[in-house]
Symmetry: C3
Subunit: 659 residues, 3 copies
Amino acid sequence: MELGVCYYPEQTSEENWTGDVAKIKNLGLEWVRIGEFSWAMCEPHPGQYQFGWLERVIALLKREGMKIILGTPTATPPKWLSDQYPDILASDRDGRVRNFGSRRHYCFSSPRYRQESRRITTEFARRFAHLVDGWQTDNEYGCHDTVLSYSAAAQDGFRIWLGQKYGTIAALNDAWGNQFWSMIYRDFSEIDLPNLTTTEANPSHWLDFHRYSSAQVVDFNLEQVTIIQQNGGRNIGHNYMGFFTDFDHYDVAQALDFVGWDSYPLGFMSKLNFTAAEKIRYARVGHPDIPAFHHELYRQMTAEQRFWVMEQQPGAVNWAAYNPAPAQGMVRLWSWQAFAHGAEVVSYFRFEQYAKAQEQFHHGLFTPERNLAQGGKEASQIASEIKKLGNILPKAQKNTAKIALVFDFPSIWANKIQPQGDSYHTLDIMFRCYSAVRQLGHDLAIIPATADFTQYDVVIAPSLPLVADDLSQKLKNFKGKCLLLPRFASKSQALTIDLKQHREICGFAISTSESLPDGFFDQATIDLKDKNGLAQPQTLQLGIWRDHADPDSLDPAIEILARYRDGGILLSRYGHIFRLMGLPDHEIINKILVTYLGIHDRNYPQDCRATKLGDLVFMQNFSPVSHDLQPLAENAELIMGDLSVAPYSVNIWRLHTPQ
Amino acid sequence: MELGVCYYPEQTSEENWTGDVAKIKNLGLEWVRIGEFSWAMCEPHPGQYQFGWLERVIALLKREGMKIILGTPTATPPKWLSDQYPDILASDRDGRVRNFGSRRHYCFSSPRYRQESRRITTEFARRFAHLVDGWQTDNEYGCHDTVLSYSAAAQDGFRIWLGQKYGTIAALNDAWGNQFWSMIYRDFSEIDLPNLTTTEANPSHWLDFHRYSSAQVVDFNLEQVTIIQQNGGRNIGHNYMGFFTDFDHYDVAQALDFVGWDSYPLGFMSKLNFTAAEKIRYARVGHPDIPAFHHELYRQMTAEQRFWVMEQQPGAVNWAAYNPAPAQGMVRLWSWQAFAHGAEVVSYFRFEQYAKAQEQFHHGLFTPERNLAQGGKEASQIASEIKKLGNILPKAQKNTAKIALVFDFPSIWANKIQPQGDSYHTLDIMFRCYSAVRQLGHDLAIIPATADFTQYDVVIAPSLPLVADDLSQKLKNFKGKCLLLPRFASKSQALTIDLKQHREICGFAISTSESLPDGFFDQATIDLKDKNGLAQPQTLQLGIWRDHADPDSLDPAIEILARYRDGGILLSRYGHIFRLMGLPDHEIINKILVTYLGIHDRNYPQDCRATKLGDLVFMQNFSPVSHDLQPLAENAELIMGDLSVAPYSVNIWRLHTPQ
Amino acid sequence: MELGVCYYPEQTSEENWTGDVAKIKNLGLEWVRIGEFSWAMCEPHPGQYQFGWLERVIALLKREGMKIILGTPTATPPKWLSDQYPDILASDRDGRVRNFGSRRHYCFSSPRYRQESRRITTEFARRFAHLVDGWQTDNEYGCHDTVLSYSAAAQDGFRIWLGQKYGTIAALNDAWGNQFWSMIYRDFSEIDLPNLTTTEANPSHWLDFHRYSSAQVVDFNLEQVTIIQQNGGRNIGHNYMGFFTDFDHYDVAQALDFVGWDSYPLGFMSKLNFTAAEKIRYARVGHPDIPAFHHELYRQMTAEQRFWVMEQQPGAVNWAAYNPAPAQGMVRLWSWQAFAHGAEVVSYFRFEQYAKAQEQFHHGLFTPERNLAQGGKEASQIASEIKKLGNILPKAQKNTAKIALVFDFPSIWANKIQPQGDSYHTLDIMFRCYSAVRQLGHDLAIIPATADFTQYDVVIAPSLPLVADDLSQKLKNFKGKCLLLPRFASKSQALTIDLKQHREICGFAISTSESLPDGFFDQATIDLKDKNGLAQPQTLQLGIWRDHADPDSLDPAIEILARYRDGGILLSRYGHIFRLMGLPDHEIINKILVTYLGIHDRNYPQDCRATKLGDLVFMQNFSPVSHDLQPLAENAELIMGDLSVAPYSVNIWRLHTPQ
């Protein structure tokens, strides 16, 4: 558990550097991230490198005992580069070039930009690989919707990629169903990008374009990693930005030693379907499970489960529709929460609030005048607390939860391509399921569809239309219980209808999937356990989406656990497979998990969370009132904080008999 | 009364054909529509025709005794065609080319595409005109907003068309009022399309562009009809899509033997201003009057009143913002409703739910695995019922209603060009007036402004800003009663203000037309008959729009029947002309019709409808509860169903003394 | 106090002219505005002038004793001009050319259009400068969002302008902070316009583009003024359109003898954040303070405070989302209100409602058939009233208010570039503060940041992020009281953070500025005077925005007058400087002004307003009920109207001992 900060020496006068580094050190931080936006300062004219300043900064940091993460600067190619080679620029869905003037203006498909990326990465790696303690490739792949580019380079690359995937154009026509609407192609060279069509393009066309575009990010990243490694670099990661899911984060992570993510809990409130009351309740706190959801998502990306918070929000920021300031204590609570979920390092973005350019309203640990800001004070407190706890704190620890939730990027793309109902929001449904388990007091893992399920008692698939053959087999053989929600196994890998898999896994086929208008609800009755553990019939309202079973397809072994008022199936059981046909709200999902999947409710107060890490339990209070908080274990010892946890604070317990 | 289905043999393996046709036949269907999206399969390379598969399908169908509608395939030109001739593509209002990759990507103005359309139609007609039982030209003209194209071809064509219409540029400048804002043109070649102007273009410019664009659709269709006829084809129709009004459906229909329309009642719920409560009430049923409104609109398009439902929704579909599944029984009820309104054939779209491409979520009579779906079961039931009733059922019958509603495409364009108020929704107002009469229990016809009015007792014009001279004369000479609503006769044919016509027809001139903000209402008092037929003063709230009379223009013969609280006229009478100056909701329009226009309320239950066809009356129950339903006639005999009609069902009565 | 009308002889047959001018004269109007859209009629072919018609009109008007304002016709260049020189056209933010077909399609940056503007202005000025009584340059600069053009000409001009401003590219890079995100430029020729970047461009880049664009309008206008003056023209003005703030109206006004503005109170209701209840209450009246706010804004634009209402709404119009008709009496009330606020002339737009082209729904003083309309009747009444009052009425009089509100165009641009919160609406906050004072019964001035403050007792700055050095000094030296609201002095002139100025003026620095989600409120308690003048603690809800003080920065002289519940400062006092940290609604701003800034509440009824002009007081009733209204002065004498003022009417009092 270490702390760090993102620092931009190129944005200030060199005379400030010594004082700045002293400030960082005095706060108790150990890591500094530098360099990821510095291309124009390192190469002010084509081929004329000026690395002196960076060498001096690195020397100073090392002298002061800091550890360094160095970023490749490819997220911000200089003006002269796009002027010289306009073909490096991306194009948006309307076909317009996305110009220089901000960042991330490059196209992953541009062969020229690939070459330039390799060149500058080589320059960085050759000079600094032996000096720094880790690397970040580029910055926030996908941010500002930059995965899908509709450029000529993307069109060329897509055609080649399709040729390699399908071999013959007949195979592609068949896979996509191009006899529909006379969309038959005679050659791969006839295939355009799926934008700017008269009405919607073929969903299989879109899904392949998503797969292709994701593969470009993977390749782009791999090229940089390879160069860094070839030059002796180690400890290579990337900082993912929350809620940009247009590329497969798992695939990119294959090449990485660790993954980072950038945690901005308040801004992320606008990315999910929170109610008006939730938006107000969590305006200065963020929903408690937003950071945890991402921690667990990114924790599982490398085999060693090494992840960082590469950028931690240190105060109010600049980019959301509304930008409140975090409640006092939240920066510390978010940091401890990250460590509780296994983060190796929490690094604050950024050293000082920068007085100029696009992110002026983004706070730092220090003010624009380099005075200590609220975020800095809280960071300093955490540094002291870590020091005090010393060896009691484990190094980052793997997730030992017995409950897992399946997260699948191609399934998200599939739902985006075929929304079928305006109110269906894949990430929101994922999040609601995650939060339901967390509110019961349990840890859970977020895992890819390719993961090994054997270590889990319960696996939940909130939205998984695409089910590969091996997953299908794995689900059938699974020894624990599975809860599967609407859209499960509805499509083939080519994004065409597949009824067979669902029938095999769930014991019946789907006849109809309905999306329901806002405000429209079907009623259902279900037995749910109350606080005393007694099952009581309860009436539900269910909207947004409903799957219907084909009544002629029911396997005799199917058990119907609950029905809609109109007689349709709400919840079925087929051995260890529980299939939910509608979308109850998260408080009902809680109770279904308790009643049917054997998860017990630990009954912590609202907005309080328990997170286990090795033999420690972190009790977190995201509510505006104090709560007495302890883990539900006999031999727990309080090692930080008080039993009564103040608002936006945390205590830590050590279990002497691990739960 | 016959049933049919749309079938796509080119989208399945040939080995399935025999089984598929047997399934269709076993359901009791008589018609099969084929071929309308098959261009790429019939001409896989330029000029290399492959009609063998189509010949085999047709032979199979004829062998099995099926009747065939063959579609010309021009809605989906192949990729090689738009690659070879990019000038066939349309452009959108932003000037962007609408590319290949879905359908309807052609520009009606493209001389090259006209030539290609004639060529492929000739190929189809030469081969198949003597083999099939009817034709469909193209598919759903206007769908995906494809009437107005802003291409270079459209600009060229528009200039020529204007030259022909106006003769001299001075005449055009005068008609459009181009001395306003220095918009004077010196030559027809200076006139651009009205899109991409700095602020709104001249409304006369827009209306002429609408007229021009509509004329291209008419010509395009006429060219195909002519070729089919020259090759011996007969029984030629087109399938209109509901709610795409950018071309004049009446004008296109001039060339047709019958018209079809595509009925998707649930998706159409999003096209009108339904209240939140209505959207929920009708989510799985559709508003009862949406299909009827279209049946009557299309019924009147040919002199023989021959119309088909070319595509009948058979289950949930894919294209609306929300896509619920129809309540059980609705497919049957919609079908019987179509027959009640005079449909010759109801043809379901489509045979099987297709597992691939854009319409995967669109259900069919059969599942993707070719099992019978709910829609198929209901279709089969109707087929049996028709067979059982046999000769009792008339062949399609003309509308004998005594009430008519005027529907005028150029008036819709005029209101779209000059909305003047964001809440004024022409089709919604049309529909509300139609529904008001239906809720009173009466049949009514929907007629063009050019129709003969003499057979009607009451004519209603819900929104008719454009009134041609002959219509004006016809209204003055009309022997029945007319109810005219806001915007009536407010504009000339050139979309300029014309006060004279209104004054002559209604007895006064309009001084001001107001659009009113959402939630703003004026109050008015009017005597309206209650259930006992007693006129009682009632207070109304009126919003959206209000016309004001010029007080100096009132003809002495004007009778003021109701006033706003502020003294303004709400309802006037000038002989047989009733002029309503505001927009009451449909329940008040009901009562105005009862009180002032002599229509009596038959008092059927909510969401129940009676439709007369020859000597039959169809009593339809669109509500979720059973109702005893019979026509208001002494000598009615129940010939199908029970007196108590189940939810989403229908019974049929025969009148021995026709009402 | 004189009345006028906008008249378009080129849009009617010459035979109507004599009658039209007689009608104008008979109404009692003295001024006629002509010519501003007449380019195509004056120069039908390149270089072929046809001024005969305009000469005849001018002769006729002079013969009849009318005074004439002649407009330069540059807002509507003819079709042949943009065909010949397409480079005169502007481009929108998406990079699309804004074409001919409406108006204002020119680009201020186009050297070619500048030349054409000078040419046609010279032709007008040479011929008519000695004949007319005043001039209007162009028409409504900025209307239809036409200040910012993204054309090649604008890019060229911007680069040159930046070169002149910054001298060296290093200076620009430093001012903008271009080391951020590697945005360093090597030469001015590398700088593009800030649109179409991948994510948001540098705010300093944007602000300079706004300053550049505004400067083009200033230069464009100055060129015309200079030419008119060189040809002997005098009395030169421009008609500003309300709510188009993309250029600095003060800077343009430097060249003008008087300013005009175009007053459309009902349409303007959509430009501010009115509540649903306010939108309904004021649908046919307009908020009482919308016209007054503009009168005072434009009154202060020339040293002599000469302003006109160049276009007064005479009835319902055509361009808003909803276009109700003004309540009877409103045209007269608006006119008297304008005179009360010092207008020299009120000129109605337009003579007749024009039956053709874009503004058909825009009413005039006369109907399309040239009968007197409601607006004409009310204009005629005002003309009689003015005549009757005769010498009692002063010539336009300067504002003598003791309260002022600061209005700053660059600050509006800065907030638009960095909204930081979706609910923050600069003009709405400006307006609410203005209205708060008006509701207390006081006059107030709206002044530029560069104005002399010494004549005021109270100065309010509702939204002033940009504070130039001299303003800073002026505020410090001010002898009255200042109320400063959120965002005050937060940025430098380059739109970068500046903490120093705020600390010096307000006695503390800002640590954080928060934007708050809709519906989120912080609570605060403040002592506010009640009706009896007793201070009582009152609880407030504050949303939208909140500034926080840096607690380490507080000057000992700071007095905290009110705090948020959480302890944060709500209202502070630092000598004469009152700083409000949140945004209360206008009724609370009223009470803060009363309690802390010494403004007393004159307690007039809701929607009644008092306006003082010299020794006259105009009591205006914008409410739907009658009120007894008199100024709060002992020796007031009623000189027009009754004590009881009818709805939408006015009375006038003369003070014998000036207040």
